[in-house]
Amino acid sequence: MNRLAVELPGLQLKNPIMPASGCFGFGKEYGNLYDLSMLGAIMIKATTLDKRFGNPTPRVAETASGMLNAIGLQNPGLQGVMENELPWLEQYDVPIIANVAGTETADYVEVAKTISMAPNVKALELNISCPNVKCGGITFGTNPQQAHDLTAAVKEVSEVPVYVKLSPNVTDIKEIAKAVEAGGADGITMINTLVGMRLDQKTGRPVIANITGGLSGPAVKPVAIKMVYEVSQVVQIPIIGMGGVSETADVIDFLSAGASAVAVGTANFVDPFICPKIIEELPSKLDELGVNQISELVGRSHRL
């Protein structure tokens, strides 16, 4: 038996490690560096109905142990993803989680319906938490009723299980989590980025052209851990945790907090080989902890 294997709705994961959406494009670039089949899954860049150029540059700024981004969901659009990106990924033995974004229910539904029919798309990740687009995105993620309704609408058309990606920029994330569970979500992914800003020292103006950006990286990990800890105790559906995962120890923390698998975002930029490195280190980490099967760690922070 594979000690690292994890089973989640729609997903048979060789291991609980997957690159987070937006930090791995559609896999091509990292595919030049290592064999993508070793990954648990791949969360591809957000796909919208029409192709998008995204926000003006600069789009990224560094912060203490973190970074801000305001890419603005640049992507080749549903058609481009279906025709070029997903077929290319079929050469790898790895389940794809398609991150679905939109501005209103109708386009979420349309993207979800079509992209869930791609043979290698095994789950959807409903992006209701992108802080970098003017309409849609995060507005769905801060209102429980809207989050519920969008989830239900997408569930109705999706051929594969639906995970909903939550925003940390809310007073009570448990409420949103319960709402999407009630809406039929098969799982939750969390957290998306915290909204933040960096100013230019000389001019005092925002560095990011979009003014605000999403904060990610090690800096946000304590917030992510706390939210996973909380949400995992109020919902029955599994969680894919993320926010600052940068080394093997962080994976243990997210599982302990209550996540069943873990996504790695910003850390890919710091170390492009971080996913394979973590996957390689996990078995000896399990030995150290005296654990046989990795799932045994899930939620141990709040189990007796």
Partner: protein, 258 residues
């Protein structure tokens, strides 16, 4: 091929005010295939600063398996880099991007290389390769002031070299474009790297000539995955945008909308 290499520092010295020349050795050197490519450097093992720093390759010595980078120690990251000593290891990702096309100028032809400030370094390796194949290189190098100018001797050894400083403390006073006027248009190609306004001025001055410009953008991944470093193209029919890190940093003049 892009590799991640823990390269060893074989030399580090301040060659002008806050401008450092660092030599690094490692197997990454063997992968470099064109002048103008860059590397993405992790300046410490800490998560603060977090991101890698993109720095151009200034010179390659395949014999010694050594490369040179030249950088300005300005922010947190480059300051940390400047504190590395001989023998220290540095985590380097590269070589990245597509460099200057040496093949676009033929032996016997003349190329003008125009650099501004910290955009000068990649032109050095370019000039070495061009002159080695018999191209005549004319160098036009612009700096703010004399005390941040560097590599004058090195460029002179390769060909005609003009220096311009904004305050006139070295060479002629003014911008590279002022010097360019004096050179005339008896050349085949031009290659340029420097701040955006300079690239714009050069491109405008040399409309009609075949030129290649190297761009800068804030980067995340450095390999084409994160869409941080995009620029719009002038001709939207093929591609609406290019990524500086993986499509560039060097583009033919006119491709990128400045």
């Amino acid at each position: 091929m892009i590799i991640q290499d823990r390269m060893r520092v074989t030399g580090q010295r301040e060659i002008a005010k806050n401008i450092f020349e660092m030599k690094l050795t490692g197997k990454l050197v063997g992968e470099i295939n064109s002048p103008g490519q860059f590397v993405h450097i992790r300046v410490s093992d800490s998560f603060e600063p977090l991101l890698r720093r993109p720095i151009s390759i200034a010179s390659i010595d395949h014999q010694a398996n050594e490369m040179t980078i030249i950088y300005r120690a300005e922010g947190r990251g480059t300051q940390l880099l400047s504190m590395k000593k001989e023998g220290d290891e540095v985590d380097v990702l590269g070589p990245l991007g597509n460099g200057f096309p040496v093949g676009e100028t033929s032996p016997g032809e003349t190329a003008v290389l125009i650099g501004g400030g910290i955009g000068v370094p990649p032109l050095y390796e370019l000039s070495k390769q061009l002159t080695a194949k018999g191209v005549t290189c004319i160098h036009v190098l612009g700096y703010q002031t004399a005390d941040v100018s560097f590599y004058e001797e090195e460029f002179i050894r390769l060909g005609e070299t003009y220096i311009a400083t904004v305050d006139g403390t070295k060479g002629s006073a003014g911008f590279v474009t002022d010097v360019m006027e004096k050179i005339g248009d008896g050349f085949t190609t031009y290659y340029s790297c420097g701040p955006m306004p300079m690239l714009n001025a050069v491109q405008t001055a040399y409309t009609g000539k075949r030129g290649f410009l190297s761009f800068e953008q804030r980067m995340g991944c450095g390999i084409g995955a994160c869409f941080a470093c995009v620029c719009e193209t002038t001709d939207k029919t093929d591609k609406e945008y290019i990524k500086v890190c993986s499509d560039g940093p060097v583009f033919p003049a006119g491709v990128v909308s400045i």
